[in-house]
Amino acid sequence: MKMTKWFTPAFLLAVLLLGLGELGARLFFAADISGRFEYGYSPDAGFDERRDGVVKLFRAGGRRFHPQSFQKQRPDGTFRVFVIGDSVPRGPSFKGAYPWLLGKELQQRQVQAESVNMALPGYGARRCQVVLKKALEFQPSLIILHVNDSNKYEDEREYRRSQEFKTWHPRNWPMKVFIFRRLYEAKTEKVFWRLVPEQIRAKFAARDADAQVAASTDPEEVRARVQLARETTAASVALARENQIPILLITQCRVWPDGRGSSYFEDHGLDALGQSLAGEGVYFLSMKEVFAHLPEGRAYFSDSGHLKESGHLLLAKAIVGKIREAHRQLGVTAFKMEAKDGGG
């Protein structure tokens, strides 16, 4: 029996359009959609391991990596640094961020260095740990973990979203279709969250991870999230140590006007966390210590937490200083000191 006898041409066209949309997305954008709905919790999203031994970083699966590439096998004699963190190390631009500037600074000191910026905006400790696990597969010489406490909300929200529609329960079947899920995601992010006030969503929408997390002002829950972020950072450090990879913790600080024309810096207890985790193979650099003593420390910040390019440069130099201090333990053999570094 002809299909058109059972179904109208319009129905068949609708099915065809949707089918072609789905097929096109899966065929032509396969890499881009990998891990798309795991919202940063996919282990591999954004890492393209090519057959020629090159690893490319690209935007996928909620990971807006700066496009970069490096060899899967670290070349002999190369000092490989991976910087993992949030929007602060990701920087105002790729070449204006401290990971790139660090690479340049090290190369100027005749260190055969490659510095890869694996920082991602909105990533807190939990998702940074997922990136770290992947990064450890590529033989880094040093991991720089930028420790911030402002993205625990995003981590929790995106975790909840990643769990939606995850099982193969029949009610989740439509969301296994990429174009349906993508439209659902777009509507949620671009329309629902923007047009409907959070108070209304939290109360009257059946599933809304954003409003649920935002509405959970219960001090116990907030404290638990802070605690989880700190424990995760500690676990990330332990993971690096287990893999015998040195790790440098850079603790974020914030700068606020003090109302008397000056400003003050605060670290939200992150410096204490960094101090407590420091030890063999674990180094620590406080952003507060880098900037707070400068007469115009605030001028290096574009807002309360993000750095201007000048701030990134200053921080890169401070990191170089740290590396220099520990260059023997880090296996950096050639290290040409510049006069402005203070000699030695």
Partner: protein, 526 residues
């Protein structure tokens, strides 16, 4: 089981696959089992009420035509609901059926049996009327007990307290069985039609039971007439691909109205009509407009899915909605909104009361009584009575005020006058929905008070939520414009097929993009 669950999307194809493979009568057996299963998914106990209504009206209708079965058969059928409850208590201990419930069901059955036997031995000319009264008495008695007993008890308690007396309060928690108003009215309409000679009594209990419990329309309509549905059930259909095409189209439109329009509008309406929400005029208007589209999308969407599901079985259900928000006067509104209920009240209450055949005052009285009872049909709450009275008042005003009657004249050729009439009726309808949606008079008072406050301080921004509302009603309005000239909200048939194909694909995408809001159909509570 609700239409918007994954269970239904598995249940329906399974029923269809079996239905079209079975021969003649076995299809009815399947439909009856499927219908009872569909209903029992909510609460297995209340299937006893469906059985009771079915047995009472089946026997009364036959007896009205003088075709009563034998005494033993009547007794056995009358005890069927009690037997069902007994079976449930034996095999489903979790159903919570105890001896008292079974005894009450048994007493109800025996009471009906006794009444039936007494009437059977009366003079033949009196019997039809008495069997009709027996049916109405028992069915409305069941409906009244489960739906209104608590309401009247509470009202009496409040009145006695108001008079300064101390009432001895009886506390009785009664759960409202889903869809009871719908199937009771459908069943009663059938018995009245048999009494009037408009429809023959159905000799087959299987057919009648299927008519009474037909799953696509059992819990929220359309309220079908026996003369329309029973012959379709009795006819052995041959599968026609048109059933599939029309059925799927209706279901798609229904899901679009429910999931995309109603559930998204509900978010704003629920906020505005929640207690403690600080309102200003903007939010009051926004909330009631959102509710207007929520209830329309919800109920007409349900009807479309019901009609589509039935169509897949080769059965046509009544049209229940026809562009209600384009009505020019209240009378036209009720000819377009929940048509199966408004025609039920017209045929079985308004016209028997005298309709508009008597004096002006008699007509006004008939309209008022009909609309107050239609309001009460929606729920055991004074707010529904007020809503019914409000619509009664509108009908009366449009009848007695010449300016309104002239403006709302459906035959007027003036486009401007037509637009003004629709706009005014829309405002009146919104005010009615504000009454309907308010939980009580206090909340209605707050909503009205908000219309006098247009300050925005202290309340949420209203512009972006208005855009949200607009985004969700614009596709619906577009659909209505496309289908307006065919006088059928779901008629996309005459569009060029490539356009239809794109419309179907877009509808599906819009439905799926809205799955974050799981809400039940509003009319299930009635």
């Amino acid at each position: 089981m609700s239409f918007i669950t994954w269970q239904y999307l598995l249940f329906l194809p399974l029923v269809l696959a079996l239905y079209w493979r079975l021969p003649g009568r076995w299809r009815l057996v399947l439909l009856l089992i499927a219908s009872y299963f569909f209903y029992a998914c909510w609460d297995v106990r209340f299937l006893a009420l469906v059985l009771a209504t079915t047995v009472i009206d089946y026997l009364c209708a036959l007896s009205i035509e003088g075709k009563s079965p034998g005494t033993v058969q009547v007794l056995l059928l009358a005890l069927l609901p009690a037997a069902w409850l007994g079976g449930c208590s034996l095999f489903l201990p979790a159903s919570g059926i105890n001896t008292i419930i079974m005894a009450a069901a048994g007493a109800l059955g025996l009471g009906f049996f006794g009444g039936h036997e007494i009437i059977r031995h009366m003079s033949p000319e009196k019997r039809p009327r008495l069997f009709l009264i027996l049916s109405i008495g028992f069915c409305l008695g069941i409906l009244g007990f489960f739906k209104y007993f608590g309401f009247f008890l509470d009202s009496a308690h409040n009145l006695i307290t108001f008079l300064g007396l101390r009432p001895n309060r009886v506390l009785l928690q009664i759960i409202l069985p889903v869809g009871i108003s719908f199937y009771t009215f459908q069943s009663l309409g059938y018995v009245i039609d048999v009494y009037r000679g408009h429809c023959p009594a159905c000799p087959s209990l299987l057919t009648f039971a299927t008519y009474d419990a037909f799953f696509p329309q059992m819990v929220a309509g359309p309220i079908e007439r026996g003369k329309h549905l029973i012959p379709q059930l009795e006819q052995t259909q041959v599968f026609d691909p048109v059933y599939l095409q029309d059925g799927l189209r209706l279901i798609l439109v229904g899901f679009f109205k429910k999931v995309f329009v109603a559930d998204n509008c509900a978010i704003l309406a629920n906020y505005v009509f929640a207690p403690q929400t600080p309102l200003n005029g903007y939010w009051a208007v926004l909330g009631v407009a959102a509710f207007a589209f929520q209830i329309y999308g919800d109920f007409s969407g349900y009807t479309d899915i019901a009609r589509g599901s039935a169509k897949l079985l080769g059965i046509d259900l009544a049209v229940n909605f026809r562009f209600p928000y384009f009505a020019r006067n209240p009378s036209e509104f009720w000819g377009r909104w929940h048509i199966s209920l408004s025609t039920w009240f017209r045929d079985y209450l308004y016209i028997p009361l005298g309709g508009n055949r008597g004096s002006k005052w008699e007509t006004i009285r008939n309209l008022a009584v009909t609309m107050v009872l239609a309001g009460l049909w929606h729920g055991a709450n004074w707010i529904f009575v007020l809503w019914g009275a409000y619509h009664g008042l509108l009908l009366i005003l449009y009848r007695v005020v010449p300016a309104l009657r002239s403006l709302g004249d459906e035959k007027s050729p003036s486009v401007i006058r037509g637009v003004l009439a629709v706009a005014l009726m829309w405002v009146f309808t919104l005010a009615g929905w504000a009454i309907f949606r308010s939980a009580n008079l206090q909340q209605l008072g707050l909503w009205l008070a908000a219309l006098g406050n247009w300050h925005t301080a202290g309340s949420l921004p209203w512009v972006s939520p208005s855009l949200w509302l607009l985004l969700h009603i614009a596709p619906l309005l577009l659909l209505q414009i496309l289908t307006w000239k065919y006088r059928d909200e779901t008629n996309l048939v005459s569009l060029p097929w490539p356009v239809k194909g794109v419309v179907y694909a877009l509808m599906l995408l819009l439905i799926v993009s809205s799955t974050e809001h799981d809400t039940e159909f509003i009319y299930f509570q009635f």
